[in-house]
């Protein structure tokens, strides 16, 4: 239900007209089980419990072809941008039942050479040796939760929270393309060489981003990922 309409209540008995404009809601609105926060005139941010739920909502909304030019999952949110009718979108989103079950996408296997400069650091943080890091890191099935930082850079969820590692205090000036790295409990692969502060475990030859490919990102949100020691 839409309780926060900013339009003034029409005084009884008066004959007035109101300019019809996109509504801007100045307060968070609870629509069914979906918590939405306004973002200017043409966007809404939906807050959910975790990355899996954000991914499920984004996948559902894309499938349902909701009226939004951009559907951008984040760590615990989904942004709906370039929306012509915010009120209609709110109604449509109210029809979504929160779930963490995203439609299953294919599983991509990434061959990794575990020879990164931070392997020893991560081993110490995890209380194991480099072989133990390889074993644990490659035992997990990850899922690409969302992209950011660079085209095709997917934030891969799946590592347990107690394996989280801090970023470098001072980012490296150049991290090579294909570097497989950790920050917090996220795993990521650098699609192109760039500065970066993630802890590098190793490298892969997989082409993460190819702008002339039909699907330019190898790991769009929702893709399942397994790492295979090379």
């Amino acid at each position: 239900m839409d309780r926060a309409s900013p339009l003034p209540v029409e005084p009884r008995g008066s004959r007035r007209s109101y300019r019809r404009e996109p509504l801007i809601h100045f307060a968070p609105v609870q629509t069914g089980d979906v918590h939405t926060v306004p973002v200017g005139r043409r966007a809404l941010l939906v807050e959910v419990d975790d990355a899996a739920t954000a991914l499920a909502l984004a996948g559902w909304a894309r499938e349902a072809r909701v009226g939004a030019g951009e559907i951008v999952p984040g760590a615990v949110t989904v942004l709906f941008d370039e929306v012509d009718d915010l009120a209609l979108l709110r109604d449509v989103l109210a029809g979504w039942t929160p779930t963490a079950d995203a439609p299953a996408r294919e599983c991509v296997e990434i061959a990794v050479r575990y020879d990164g400069p931070d392997l020893a650091f991560v081993a110490e943080a995890w209380g194991t040796d480099p072989a133990g890091v390889v074993e644990r890191h490659s035992a997990v099935e990850y899922v690409a939760a969302f992209c950011g930082f660079a085209p095709g850079f997917a934030y891969l969820a799946g590592l347990a929270d107690d394996l989280a590692v801090p970023r470098l205090d001072s980012p490296r000036a150049r991290v090579p393309a294909g570097s497989v790295a950790l920050a917090g409990a996220w795993c990521g692969i650098y699609p192109t060489a760039s500065p970066g502060g993630w802890r590098i475990l190793g490298s892969t030859d997989a082409l993460l981003w190819d702008q002339v490919r039909d699907e330019p990102a190898l790991l769009p949100p929702g893709t399942r990922v397994r790492f295979v020691p090379a």
Binding site: P6, L7, P8, E10, R15, R16, S17, Y18, R19, E21, I24, F26, V37, P38, V39, G40, R41, R42, A43, L45, A58, G69, E70, I71, V72, P73, G74, A75, V76, T77, V78, L79, D81, E82, F146, C147, G148, F149, A150, P151, G152, F153, Y155, Q211, V212, P216, A217, P220, P221
Partner: protein, 293 residues
């Protein structure tokens, strides 16, 4: 008939732009596109191009090009001296430029970005549905360099020598509250709107960076990465706001205190380092007007 445009002098920063890429933010691709969109649209209309045809965005003038065939050309945006083979011609109008003639844009008298449209449009190969150069992730055609040659498409429409766009609105940037306004102190928007900021020298197509007092934060924990919109007023740990422009990162981890109205973003494209910037809140809905009887 196609022709080409030879870049004699590229100037400080000249890029190919159109209306940008759509629907790819979830893959981490910035939207890009002309920063002063109404000026780019005007330039295309004047020479009879379809809306969204690719043109050149020229930063602080200094561009000189030579056309392979005669074409209608227009220059809009930041007002600057325009010379065709050394003769001064007008701004904001269509000019016929004969084959082999050079067009030169001087430094703008005010503003930052001028737009040069050629009938037929700059016909570089589109990348992911757009010919725009994104300067964050470098998706799209490379930056325009001196000595390079750009293809120009076949001219389609007739020029439209008269075009009277609605006057551009100057003044404070209108904002509505952002999704994380509650991460800041009480009355954060009043603080934002009560401050005169100055444009920082490192402003670019990614963001209009501002100098001024830091906005007090209520929450200092890390914001989980979330989707960002065009015009988002993001506040990094330094406390001074950045207005996200066309090449902004699609997701970000700093809270957004406010969102600038789309109609005011052209001003952000034309503000120079040191220029004062003020914000004002979008008013409540217009007071109801008595219906005409």
């Amino acid at each position: 008939m196609r022709t080409e445009l030879v870049v004699v002098e590229a100037g400080t920063l000249t890029t190919v732009q159109d209306r940008g890429r759509r629907g790819l933010a979830h893959l981490g691709v910035p939207r890009a596109g002309a920063l002063d969109a109404p000026a780019a649209d005007l330039a295309n209309r004047l020479v009879g191009n379809r809306p969204g045809a690719a043109l050149l965005e020229v930063t602080l003038g200094g561009l000189e090009v030579r056309l392979g065939a005669g074409r209608w050309v227009s220059v809009t945006g930041a007002p600057c001296a325009v010379h065709v083979d050394g003769r001064a011609v007008g701004h904001d109008r269509a000019e016929w430029v004969p084959a082999g003639a050079t067009v030169r844009l001087g430094p703008p008298r005010s503003g930052v970005r001028s737009y040069l449209a050629v009938a037929g449009g700059i016909d570089v190969e589109p990348v992911l549905g757009s010919r725009a150069t994104d300067t964050l992730a470098w998706v799209g055609p490379p930056v325009v360099e001196s000595g390079s040659t750009l293809p120009v498409g076949p001219a389609a429409g007739a020029p439209r020598p008269h075009d009277t766009p609605r006057p551009r609105r100057h003044g404070p940037l209108r904002v509505s509250p952002g999704p994380r306004v509650d991460w800041f102190g009480e009355a954060a928007l009043d603080a934002l709107c009560g401050t005169t900021y100055a444009v920082a020298a490192d402003s670019n197509r990614i963001g209009l960076r501002l100098e001024g007092p830091a906005l007090p934060r209520r929450r200092t924990d890390e914001l989980p990465s979330e989707g960002m919109v065009l015009g988002a007023v993001q506040v990094p740990p330094t406390g001074t706001p950045v207005v996200f422009l066309a090449d902004h990162p699609p997701t970000g981890g700093y809270p957004v205190v406010a969102v600038v109205e789309a109609d005011d973003l052209w001003q952000c494209a034309q503000l120079r380092p040191g220029d004062p910037v003020r914000f004002t809140r979008v008013g409540p809905p217009e007071p109801p007007r008595a219906a005409r009887r």
